[in-house]
């Protein structure tokens, strides 16, 4: 029997927590051969990262316990190996890169030292390791590698940090690279480049890649085969094409259906009197121009999507409109009155018409308040909206409206899932009966299937209540089914502004086209064309280095 490079057999891992035993993975099996790429696809809580942590011996025991199974690397079981032999395998034969390269690089050592250490720890001489580290930095495309050797992680951009991680992982030419959500925190154009680099390096070295992701687009971009995980079990396995074209399991079908960017696009109606008319908004931080004159109109009940990569100024715009940060220039006429010229007292009254939903509901909801307190707090601040006797009933109505139920009222935020928490945040925004809700990356942190549900909820609220939305996102496909107008921002400027159909079907600007091209399609047949259309180094030329 020919041996696989890696074979996971009937692996079960459980975690002993205060609330009982959690079965993180239940008897899963998969294998991986040299030069092959296997994707483990799953949403949060599916256990998709657990088996790779077990391969790398990164599970803390206790509270974790490997209750059954074996992990064979070239036929040898890693789980029964002596500790020292096991340690030698990490870095030398199996290496790993992670989702958030900033927190996974040691902040107090230079990257040159950290890459060299990957080699010296396995016995290479210091000078030789530094030489090799320099070569690796050059290979992964870090500019000025000699200087970069002495720099610290915080001095690099997100994409460069992931390149550093890749250089470190590949230092000893491992047979297997495990990549845990390697591009999730990156901008789309940077993501495309990092995936391209991984594929090139795989071709050069013949290593196997195990990629863990929640993103169907990444799967179709890079993987040969895929296993789909739900609630700790593998529900489906096959080639990428098989899974995408002919999913068997209902969960896989749901996941594929939830991928954004397939529904009908909105056709905005005739425009008359704008609800909000923004002209030439400017904001600078010291010498840095965050907003260089932004102008747009928003009608009642309309959705304006603001799309841009990190540093484009889209969140600054939201904060300026709500005057959470004071803008330095321009006007924002709200039904004819300039928001920027209002006195604090007038602004206070107007605030209830303009509400905001933030990216991370875990941080924006006070963990010590019940759902009832969180939602009714709005009426404590604006007591004229609703007499106290009616609060309880209204909170119940709002919860039902956002797809929760009245009995959730007495619970605390931590008792809900991420998607449910975002629904609570939306209910809180609705409590003040606003006419405009600004959503700052409101669905970015959510799983794909939950993302689809929240967007559907927002769309329904717009139809039923005529609320206008400014919907900020870094990802174009997400806004496709929801927006009336799309505004593409780059470096504090509006690059392109048009109806959703204009922007998606006939983008006029190179930057918009690059963004569209870099967005990964979940359809394995769609990828053939697009990588060719992203010019080499697109991200670097389109996104000049930000100064730190």
């Amino acid at each position: 029997m020919a041996e696989h490079l890696l074979e996971v057999r009937n692996l079960s891992v459980e975690f002993h927590t205060a609330t009982g035993v959690v079965h993180a993975v239940k008897s899963i099996s998969y294998h991986l051969d040299k030069g092959e790429t296997l994707a483990i696809l799953g949403e949060s809580g599916s256990g998709k990262s657990v088996s790779s942590s077990a391969i790398m011996n990164l599970i803390d025991l206790p509270p974790g316990r490997i209750s059954a199974g074996e992990i064979l690397l070239d036929g040898r079981d890693l789980l029964t190996m002596p500790a020292e032999a096991r340690r030698e395998i990490n870095g030398r034969r199996v290496a790993m890169i992670f989702q958030d390269p900033l927190s996974h690089l040691n902040p107090v050592y230079s990257v040159g030292w950290q890459i060299s250490e990957a080699m010296t720890t396995h016995g290479l001489a210091g000078s030789k390791a530094r030489e090799e580290a320099l070569r690796l930095l050059r290979r992964v495309g870090i500019p000025e590698p000699e200087r970069a050797m002495r720099k610290y992680p915080h001095e690099f951009s997100g994409g460069q940090r992931q390149r550093v991680m890749i250089a470190m992982a590949l230092a000893l030419r491992p047979d297997l690279l495990i990549a845990d959500e390697p591009t999730t925190a990156l901008d789309v154009t940077v993501q495309a480049e990092v995936l391209k680099l991984l594929k090139e390096l795989q071709r050069e070295t013949g290593m196997a890649v195990l990629i863990i992701t929640h993103d169907l687009g990444v799967v179709s971009e890079i993987a040969d085969r895929v296993v789909v995980m739900e609630k700790g079990a593998i529900v489906e396995a096959g080639t990428v094409r098989e899974i995408y074209k002919n999913p068997q399991h209902p969960y896989t079908q749901k996941l594929i259906a939830a991928a954004p960017g397939k529904g009908a696009m909105h056709e905005p109606g005739a425009r008359a009197e704008p609800l909000l008319s923004v002209r030439d908004v400017r904001k600078t931080y010291g010498a840095f121009e965050a907003l260089k004159g932004i102008s747009f109109d928003l009608m009642p009940g309309e959705t304006m999507a603001v799309v841009g990569e990190s540093g484009s100024g889209k969140s600054t715009l939201a904060r300026a409109l709500l005057r959470l940060d004071e803008p330095d220039g321009g006007t924002a006429l709200w039904k004819g009155r300039d928001l920027f010229a209002l006195s604090p007292a007038e602004l206070y009254k107007l605030r209830r018409d303009l509400q905001m939903v933030f990216q991370d509901p875990t941080q924006s909801l006070n963990p010590r308040m019940t759902v009832y307190q969180l939602i009714s707090e709005a009426w404590v601040i604006h007591p004229d909206i609703l007499p106290k006797a009616k609060w309880r009933q209204r909170v119940a109505e709002l919860l039902v409206q956002v797809g929760l139920s009245a009995e959730h009222m007495s619970r605390y935020p931590h008792q809900f899932s991420g998607g449910q928490r975002q629904r609570i945040a939306i209910a809180r925004a609705l409590a003040l009966e606003p006419q405009l809700i600004i959503c700052d990356e409101a669905v970015s942190a959510l799983d794909v299937s939950v993302q689809a549900q929240v967007i559907e909820l927002l769309d329904r609220l717009r139809r039923e209540m005529g609320i206008a939305f400014i919907f900020i996102a870094h990802d174009l496909p997400v806004v496709r089914d929801f927006a009336d107008y799309v505004m593409v921002m780059q470096q504090g400027e509006v690059v392109e502004l048009g109806t959703v159909r204009e922007v998606f079907d006939t983008p006029r600007q190179a930057y918009t086209r690059a963004l569209l091209a870099a967005s990964l399609s979940p359809d394995p047949d769609a990828k053939a064309g697009h990588l060719a259309s992203v010019p080499a180094g697109a991200a670097d030329t389109l996104m000049p280095k930000r100064s730190h």
Partner: protein, 304 residues
């Protein structure tokens, strides 16, 4: 890096000027300086003579200018009891205190880092629970009680260590041992807490994935990151020793600045008290500059 040090030194200088101003007005606002400086039994003429001699009848601003001039030239007046410049008296005592603080804090910090780190590495284990218990007791024991018990045991019952003085190395053992206990208890707990979070950080996970051994993971990867809060507390504890370990110095008859201050207050030797305040304050300011530099050395993000 040099620019960073210059900035920090400049900021400290501004604080120092504030301190000099404060010391001056403290000595003027707590009542008639003549009454403060002179013995209680001094006559009215003596007080008037004293005022005339020290220019206390001049406008306050003129006095202040004169005082600043004196401070800058290092003239902090005479010790009324010892008939020597107050600054000399204070610096002599301060040298003893400085040695005591430096030796004690070096031992404390070294021991606390090792004990706290090992406790954190196997947190919840036997060593961790033992060291947590010992450090908690250490942090809670009052030093005057410990000093007396130590004297009873080692000087009286076993008669192996002297009770007071500075004549030889053995004279230092009891004061250092007593001063060691409390900061050690506190710092072990800070090291342990800081190391537990550093060891569960993402970059430690990366190091484990690289195959780095346990030793370097604890003492290279985690410790340097965990040191920032530790340094703050070490600085705090060192400051309280530099202020003069008043109780311990008095019990062991150790001629440090803490004992000097108590004696001078009791003897109404006010110039010495003011000089001691100024000297220890400058020492603490300098130590804060050193701590800021240590921060910057440990963490490149602070260096800008």
């Amino acid at each position: 890096m040099l620019r960073f040090i210059r900035q920090r030194a400049l900021a400290s200088l501004i604080s120092l000027i504030g301190l000099v101003v404060m010391v001056f007005f403290l000595s003027r606002m707590t009542g008639d300086p003549a009454a403060l400086f002179l013995p209680v039994e001094a006559s009215a003429e003596m007080k008037e003579q004293f005022r005339e001699l020290h220019g206390l009848n001049d406008p306050v601003l003129v006095q202040f200018a004169r005082y600043v001039g004196d401070v800058v030239t290092g003239d902090l007046g005479e010790s009324l009891r010892k008939a020597r410049p107050a600054l000399d008296v204070v610096l002599e005592a301060f040298t003893w205190t400085l040695w005591l603080a430096v030796i004690t804090m070096t031992l404390v910090t070294g021991a606390a880092i090792v004990v706290g780190s090992l406790g954190a590495f196997r947190s919840g284990g036997f060593f961790d629970r033992l060291s947590s218990m010992v450090s908690l007791i250490g942090a809670s024991v009052p030093d005057f009680w410990l000093a007396i018990v130590a004297i009873v045991i080692f000087s009286i019952n076993f008669a192996i260590l002297p009770t007071s003085g500075t004549g030889s190395v053995v004279h230092w053992i009891l004061p250092i041992a007593v001063l060691f206990v409390r900061p050690f208890g506190i710092i072990v707990q800070v090291v342990r807490g800081s190391m537990v979070s550093a060891l569960s950080s993402a970059y430690v996970k990366t190091a484990r994935a690289k195959g780095v051994k346990s030793g370097p993971i604890i003492f290279i990867h985690a410790l340097r990151n965990a040191m920032l809060p530790v340094i703050t507390v070490v600085g705090d504890q060192a400051a309280s020793l530099l202020n003069g370990a008043v109780v311990v110095e008095t019990i062991f008859g150790f001629p440090g600045v803490g004992k000097l201050m108590i004696d001078s207050i009791l003897q109404r030797d006010f110039n010495v008290v003011l000089a001691a305040i100024l000297v220890t304050a400058i020492a603490i300011f300098l130590m804060n500059v050193l701590i800021d530099i240590a921060y910057a050395l440990l963490d490149p993000r602070i260096r800008h």
